[in-house]
């Protein structure tokens, strides 16, 4: 017990015992089990609470949880009426976080998002500029229909999403942890939309497509929403617990060949690379290194959600589409041939697998 590594293990043990078990007198073997089992139970409870309000959409819910526990942000894309906003509101209730919502419109200004300094008069009659924080100062921010605002307003989120802080009038204000942005957008073909810039898109850990519900799910939606009242969603997870899980996620080990698999996948999306000729034909810009980070970090969360303690190649494959579909830019050839990013990524994944 006098080795430094074991001391570090003991400190981790105490930290997780404090977060999950609440006691400090348990033995090490028991505390090793405790955080993991608590995590699994908490995640199952969150899923159960979300399923009270959301019918189906299992992959979307899992993707949102992966992004939340990995410390990233998520972009939901789908036509109106599929429950995107409902999902975010339900998640906010289940995790007991401070929640705010911004409805993006074409006349929305950056000050409406991050806040502004206004003149206030104190009791002495003296006036001063006081910063009034905007709706971005929350733990869980819903940017609804983000592509309806102008790029100027969209870029107001850049600093907040990457560095968890905003700067107004040369004053930097740190956002409270955890800070999680869930943005929804309609497909770009809809009228009155502004496509998100590439730098803004790259800030999102995952881009999830919200599919239309199936026939059975649609029946279930009608039964729930047209009869009686909806169920009440309970708080099952709080902010400190989410931060503890985020730290634990980063400890999940990755084998070298799994990491190499993720790297090869990302490199295969680059047209100048020799990995894949498909990218050279249809892709103008490949994925950024954030794509590889997403594959590994999201894979760690997914492994923990499945009760594993190591990242596997299947985790990387499962996250390939939501992690890279918004990080590759297609060229005109791809648009002319009607190729979508998902199709290309599937083909690239098949090519790399056959090595």
């Amino acid at each position: 017990m006098n080795l430094p590594e074991q001391g570090a293990v003991a400190r981790k043990k105490d930290e997780f015992v404090t977060e999950f078990a609440g006691t400090e007198s348990e033995k090490m073997d028991h505390t090793l089990e405790q955080p993991i089992e608590s995590l699994a139970e908490k995640i199952v409870e969150v899923r159960r609470e979300i399923s009270k309000a959301i019918v189906g959409q299992g992959e979307v819910v899992e993707g949102v949880l992966v992004a939340l526990l990995a410390g990233g942000h998520v972009l939901l894309e789908g036509v109106p009426g599929l429950g995107k906003t409902m999902l975010v509101r339900t998640l906010a209730k289940a995790v007991a976080l401070k929640y705010s919502r911004i409805q993006f419109t074409p006349d929305l200004m950056p000050a409406d998002v991050i806040g502004t300094a206004i003149i206030q008069e104190n009791g002495d009659g003296r006036k001063s500029l006081d910063f009034q924080p905007g709706p971005i100062f929350a733990n869980l921010l819903l940017a609804d229909e983000i592509n309806r605002a102008t790029p100027k307003t969209q870029s107001a989120l850049l600093e907040a999403m990457q560095e968890n802080q905003v700067t107004v009038a040369r004053a930097t204000h740190v956002l409270e942890e955890p800070f999680f942005v869930m943005a929804t957008q309609n497909p770009l073909e809809m009228e009155g939309t502004y496509p998100l810039p590439e730098a803004q898109l790259d800030r999102f850990l995952l881009k999830l497509r919200v599919p239309f519900p199936s026939r059975e799910e649609l029946h279930e939606i009608l039964d729930r929403t047209t009869q009686g009242e909806g169920e009440v969603v309970r708080h099952v997870l709080n902010g400190p617990q989410i931060l503890a899980i985020r730290r634990m996620v980063r400890m999940v080990p990755v084998a070298p060949h799994v990491q190499d698999y993720a790297v090869r996948l990302v490199l295969a999306t680059h047209p100048e690379g020799k990995e894949n000729s498909l990218a050279a034909k249809y892709i103008r810009y490949g994925s950024s290194p954030r794509g590889a980070q997403t594959l590994i970090l999201g894979g760690k969360v997914r492994a923990l959600l499945e009760g594993r303690f190591n990242v596997s190649s299947e985790d990387v494959r499962a996250l390939l589409l939501p992690a890279l579909r918004h990080r590759i830019i297609l060229n005109f050839e791809a648009h002319a041939d009607g190729r979508a990013p998902d199709d290309l990524l599937q083909e690239i994944m098949g090519t790399i697998r056959s090595n």
Partner: protein, 501 residues
Amino acid sequence: MSGPPNGHPILEKSGPKDGRYPEELRGLIAEATFVRRRVQANRYLAYWLASWNWILGTLILAAAFSHHMRGAAILAAICGAISALASFVLARRKGPSFYAAAYQLDAAAGLQDRLSTTVHLAATAETNWMVLHQRRDALARLKQVNAHELFPLQMPPNARRTAAIALVALGFFAYRIKYGPPVLTLIQKTAETHLVSAVISPLARLIENGPLNVLDRQPKLDVLDEEAAAAGAPTQDEKTNPSPPVGQPDGENPNGAGQQNSPGLSPTDSKDSQHATQAQNQTQSNGNLSPDSQQQNQENSTSDQNSQKGASDGKTPSGNQAQANGPGSNGGQQSLGQKLMQALKDMMGSMTGQDASQSPSQPSQETQGPSAPGQGGQSAESAAKGGQQGTLSNDPAKNAPEKSGQHSGAGNGTQPLSAKQPGQDAAQQNSSNLVPERVQLDASDYRVQTRPREMVGPGNAEVPLTNASALGSATTNGAEQENIPLRYRQYVQRYFDQGQK
């Protein structure tokens, strides 16, 4: 298998520094060791069978060609033993590491990289509570895995091919117990038959008339033209259009036409024509010879004529003709095709048991009597030398009928000469055979024509101001869109369709 392929450097990581894994991983290392040995054994079998493919193939060739089968069998056994040893060393050297073995066990058992991650973490000596969790999870899953079922000792995929080759080799051995090498026997039997000559004669004909010979002949004709022009002799164009014969012969003997049409014909030349006729008669009467040998006889008789001319009348153009047409008359500068053809002729002559230099001479001796014996005994090489000694004649009117008579008698060219053909046609045909590639141009003075030069100077340009507007029809009927590719039109159509939605 989504990871790197077997043998990837990232899988060949070294183990712990002290070479010892943690004690609790003993079961995992044992399983990985078993997988490693099975992989090595399967690789060993694959390598060894692959080497046996080569050994058996070589043994089959030896059985087909060689008389010494005992030595070949002993050598094959030695090679088999050496290949077994080499395959063992190679399989052991290329054996997977513990990490790679665990990776293969993961993939086979569907353990989602649990074991390989554990082996990697044990090798890096990284320990924290998450690593301990991961190790415990992997060992718990390992108990449910039966590596013996997942990694059986399996035959390599090329085992059937090796078995087939071994059966063929055994069949050859059984055959060789009673018989000799089959391929050698087959070659000997084939060489004794006329099959070889039947196969090679079209090839020889092709080489003789092929483009190689034509290309080889063309520059010589040009040189002849220049020399003849310098000496005042008629050019090749003139030779291709010889003067028509003065008197029309009976038509029974086409060679006689050449004699009658040449007023200044020497006795030697008439003798040549007779000799050529006799040679033709000899080749026609020699029915048991192959067509190729007949052609050879004709060409040899032609060589005899040329050599005779070169010996008797050195100023006749027969020497030039031999340069133009004869294969061995180009002053030692034979082309590759000619050399090959000569080699084929020699080979065929040796196989059929006939001497190429003697076969045309014997019939000519029988038919011609006293005038021919000394000349017919000359070989083709001596004829070529005689052709080289000949020089250009200064009498063009005399040379043309001589050449036509010689070619008609010798049967030079690809078309056989018939007795019913008129003498004039034969003369024209033979004369056209000299330069079949030359075509006279109708307009050859194009270099003399000058291009009229236009003078350009300062002035006033008048631009029509009327009818300067664009045509309305070009923009109304959409004809200019027909040049837009279909895929771009579909793209624009899809873009507007989606905008309307």
